[in-house]
Amino acid sequence: MIHTKTVFLILLVLSLAKPASLRADSAECLEGYSPLEEQLLLAITSRSASNPQDRLPASSQTTAPTSGQNDTTSLVTSTGQTNLFAVAFESGLIETGDGKLTLNLNPFAFKVARDSRAWTDQSLFEASETLREFSGTLSFGGKGEKFDRDGDGKADDPLEAKSLDDIVQWEVRFQPKNRDMRESYNWERYLQSTRDQFEDWATALERLVTELEELGLEEILQEDRQFCVNKIGLRNLLARNAVWQVITEEVQTLAREEKDLDASHDEITKKIVNDFIWSVALGGIERGDDFGRDERYAAFRGDRGIGAGKKLTFEAKWTEVESRTAGEPDPEVLKLGLEWSTLLLRGSDGLAEGSREKTSGIELSWAGSWEQFNDVPDAKHDTIGKLGVKLELPLAGAMKLPISVTWANHVDLLTDEDEVVGHIGISWDLSKVMSVMPQ
């Protein structure tokens, strides 16, 4: 017995062969097959429905560029440059939020803005590989440091920048590789790994097409853009059992080759998704006197996939902060961080009421960080250790609500948290939500 989807596979193949000459009124179209069956058909007949990036875990999809400076819920900053040019494009190279204006300085994005062929032409895209290795951000505004401004011995709340040059933050990144499938080092691996299976699949497809043509079955089929199959023709087709016996073998061969192709596709895609990616960043913050001290930092960041939707991220960062007192050495901080993250309920409807869009899931991460202070006159401790768990709840569209719980080895270190109980601090970041609320 031939499965329903196989029947439709054959009909689809035939209908695609004769789209124009066999078109008929939509009233003659067969109705009643489900969207699921249609999806099955697409999955079987089209590699486009199962191409590499469709299956990438959300963790390797584009993320907003991160500097980590004002993210109170994260202990570890990721590489943040994967497909950064995509972000730069879609945001028009400029982002606003958290009282800041951020320019995404990506040379490749600027090149594409000037000549779109650098994006659509694969050879030109590959020629710009070096440009994609560099990126940066330049931010103006935001919130300053919490420190004693008036000399009363108590730390004052940080001030919001009022003019563009009150707080200027910059970062330059170098990331030699990313996971974009169009990069030559990725797609060459991909095609190499699927080459034999694709050739076998294409050969089976060609044999099936030929077999069907020899049988003359296409004469009863038609197509329009609504995926139409001739109702009367189908009935006649199904009545001819001898026809099905002839083509069953070819259909089964095609299905077998498709399965092999899918398997090789999945294997190499997982490898690429799990590749180790690293970046080096140099940055700084220039603050006016009322907004805090200047900073400079260098960071080495990396991440590696460790399974579907799971990722390990690490960061080593050196920061030098301008001394408050003339003649004293500038305080230094060395930080090491490690984060494990996973996606929960991936593909669910999320928390957005009435939302029809599937979400990329709830991101759950565990992180630990250790900081060593040198030449910090007002520091109560030389080291800081923190462990944290963080949930990012999807609300609507790309909007997320991050909630974190952090344990610190010294309770006075939990200065950025919204609530502190014992050694545990709880914080949430409503800034992204508030930024879209009516004022």
Binding site: A17, S48, Q53, D121, R182, L191
Partner: protein, 152 residues
């Protein structure tokens, strides 16, 4: 099939954050369908110069092309090559003897979004043209076929 907006067309939806497909939508692809599609079988005469022209944009791909005369059991590919340019890739079918032929092509795209233009030219005149795109085609199949009837 670009004469009516699909559910993913730029007119009907905003780009989905972070997808390469969204970027492709924002760009002007050299593979975009400029002239009308021509999807009927192609007649030719023996000795005509027949060339299949394949063009893919926004993605690299492995292309396999078969040409089989009706009744012939041989199904070895005429072309099997990797493509890393959006320039047209011509496949010369040679001077064909009279008979019925089936040209079948399939490609394995290396990236998420792509646009493909397949054309068949007889004596330098395009007689068949088909456009497929992950963004604009309802069924963005990665294969196609066309019958060629070569008369004496």
């Amino acid at each position: 099939m670009s004469d009516q907006p699909s559910k993913n067309s730029p007119q009907s939806s905003q780009p989905e954050a972070g997808t390469a497909a969204a970027l492709a939508r924002l760009s002007t692809s050299p593979c975009k369908l400029v002239e009308k599609e021509m999807l009927d079988d192609v007649p030719a005469r023996s000795g005509d110069k027949i060339i299949f022209i394949f063009r893919i944009c926004s993605s690299p791909a492995q292309l396999v092309v078969f040409l089989r005369q009706k009744g012939n059991e041989d199904s070895r590919p005429l072309v099997d090559q990797d493509i890393r340019t959006s320039d047209p890739v011509p496949v010369d079918l040679g001077r064909l003897d009279p008979g019925e032929y089936r040209l079948t092509w399939a490609f394995n795209p290396g990236a998420e979004a792509w646009e493909v233009l397949g054309e068949l030219a007889v004596n330098d005149v395009v007689r068949f043209r088909r456009f497929k795109s992950t963004e604009e085609s309802r069924i963005p199949t990665n294969f196609g076929f066309i019958a060629i009837e070569v008369l004496p």
